[in-house]
Subunit: 298 residues, 2 copies
DNA sequence: CGACTCGATATCCTTGATCGTATGGATTTC
DNA sequence: GAAATCCATACGATCAAGGATATCGAGTCG
């Protein structure tokens, strides 16, 4: 048995009207084919739905049950159509987003808020990992979108979109002579002991910190190095070194550390990009990417 | 768009196989019509469901969503067929049952237990009322089945089925000379003061009590009468009168009253019948009626 | 480059769903 | 009993679904 939309509709109208003639009229058809359709329906279901007593047509208990279920079937059907269309348009769905740890502090919550407001039907699965792993997941299809540091390793299959720029600030011990300044020039620190990343965890930052110093005309005297940011923070808080860090860290006050902006910004910034597969046709990904573009810091 | 069962099935098989050729084979058809069917489906939905890339066919997000929904639609559809059939066969549904108060104590629980066990899909709506009202509700279609006292008032549209017989017992004050007996003959009470129903509430019992006395060869000296059973019980418990009552009341011990069976049973009983509309085609009612017949006390 | 794979397209056929008009048969109503 | 009402039946027409075969075109692989 195959309930066509039409057949269900015919039954429902008849169940309302309880009169073949009137029902047929409402359905813009003549009465006999309606009779036949109802017979087909009853035959297909193997149950009598209508109690045809002369002068007053009623539903059998089975008919009454079917009227309820038929309405539900029709509703379910149009809900399915609606849902599929929304998914196809990217208004509903799941996007798997990867990001590097730095991003989590300020940009990601902002983005998630915007997405929840603009694309309430979208569910975003978050995954934090290293840039290299994220890129691999993106290529293999485990991720749909990744926020990573600027140099996109393999550009052939992936496309990058600017997302955010982030200034580098100096991190000084509280008792440093410049700790109270509004800003400083990087060369003011040329005689200080530095602690910098050794490049295993955040190669972008490690590189750019050294580049910035070279541009300022000196090679930083590195008294120590560290695997990650917490290592840097430890050295600085201990009052042993100064360091260079992403400005976002200022949102997380660390006892004993002062963050001071650098004057002259151009080389002293790092950019975060949103990368997606070039061939990705997922509409939800593109909606999200569009939102990312509109909410990106330029 | 009209999702035929076949079309959904085709899509689901294709979504599993991810290969037009194999899917067509599993569907016992050739590949081209399957291609066309999927094109029709996509056109109808207004969304691309399949990502046809050479050598590997995938579902788009919309396609994946539709695969889930299509499965649900098919399940819902067969569930509807199943449910309608069960209702048509009387295995599921609602039966509105009326009963007179006396019945509630012993027979009704027994019946409900049996129904819950044998016809678990059946819901029974209970309504207690007087015989006259029940009969009227039955005729008007507000009730499907009614348990009432033997004389069925209007037999033309209704049919009666024996259900239970109930003996009449003597109700004596505790200090009555026969209160301790195992049984007594009604004529032993010919000189006692009686309290009987005046016939407004339970005309059957009122009548049969008097008939029983006449058959025993005396007219009861009525010191009082009452509207209902509680009135009778009051008089008897007060030690003022004896009375005649349905044996079921023995299940509810009343302080100060002794119930003593009567010897010679034939006239001293009342029968409860199950009445239904003669023309009722509701399968559930007939299932229940059949169960009633099998569980009736003969 | 040629064979092969795989889905799309072209073309045709069959069938059943769906509708129409005309009519029959049962019941109610006046 | 005649008229009216209401649903079922009979019969014919149409059209789209659903299928088959043959072929094309794109991409893959040895």
């Amino acid at each position: 048995m195959d309930f066509t939309q039409r057949l269900l509709e015919q039954f429902l109208v008849l169940a309302e009207e309880k009169h073949f003639g009137r029902a047929a009229e409402r359905l813009s058809m003549s009465q006999p084919p309606l009779s036949q359709a109802m017979q087909r329906l009853e035959r297909g279901l193997g149950a009598t739905l209508l109690d045809r007593r002369p002068g007053d047509l009623r539903l059998t208990p089975a008919g009454a049950a079917f009227a309820v279920e038929a309405r539900r079937l029709l509703d379910a059907r149009s809900a399915v159509v609606e849902r599929v269309r929304r998914v196809a348009q990217g208004l509903e769905g799941v996007v798997r987003v990867g990001y590097v740890s730095i991003l989590s502090h300020r940009h990601l919550p902002r983005l998630l808020r915007a997405a929840a407001e603009e694309l309430p039907g979208l569910r975003i699965h978050l995954h934090q990992d290293s840039t290299a792993t994220l890129v691999e997941m993106l290529r293999s299809g485990t991720l749909d979108l990744a926020f990573i540091r600027d140099p996109l390793p393999v550009a052939d299959e992936l496309v990058a979109h600017d997302f955010a720029v982030e200034h580098i600030v100096a991190a000084l011990p509280h008792d440093h002579r410049l700790a109270g300044s509004d800003s400083l020039a990087l060369e003011d620190l040329c005689d200080d002991d530095f602690v910098l990343l050794n490049g295993t965890a955040l190669p972008g930052l490690a590189l750019q910190a050294r580049l910035a110093c070279r541009e300022a005309g000196f090679t930083p005297r590195c008294r120590a190095d560290a695997d990650d940011l917490t290592g840097l923070l430890g050295y600085v808080a201990a009052g042993l070194c100064v360091s260079l860090m992403p400005e976002d860290l200022r949102d997380f006050p660390v006892p004993g550390i002062a963050f001071v902006p650098l004057r002259g910004s151009s080389p002293y910034l790092r950019t975060t990009i949103a990368a997606v597969r070039r061939a990705d046709a997922d509409a939800a990904v593109h909606r999200l990417l569009d939102l990312v573009a509109r909410h990106s810091r330029r």
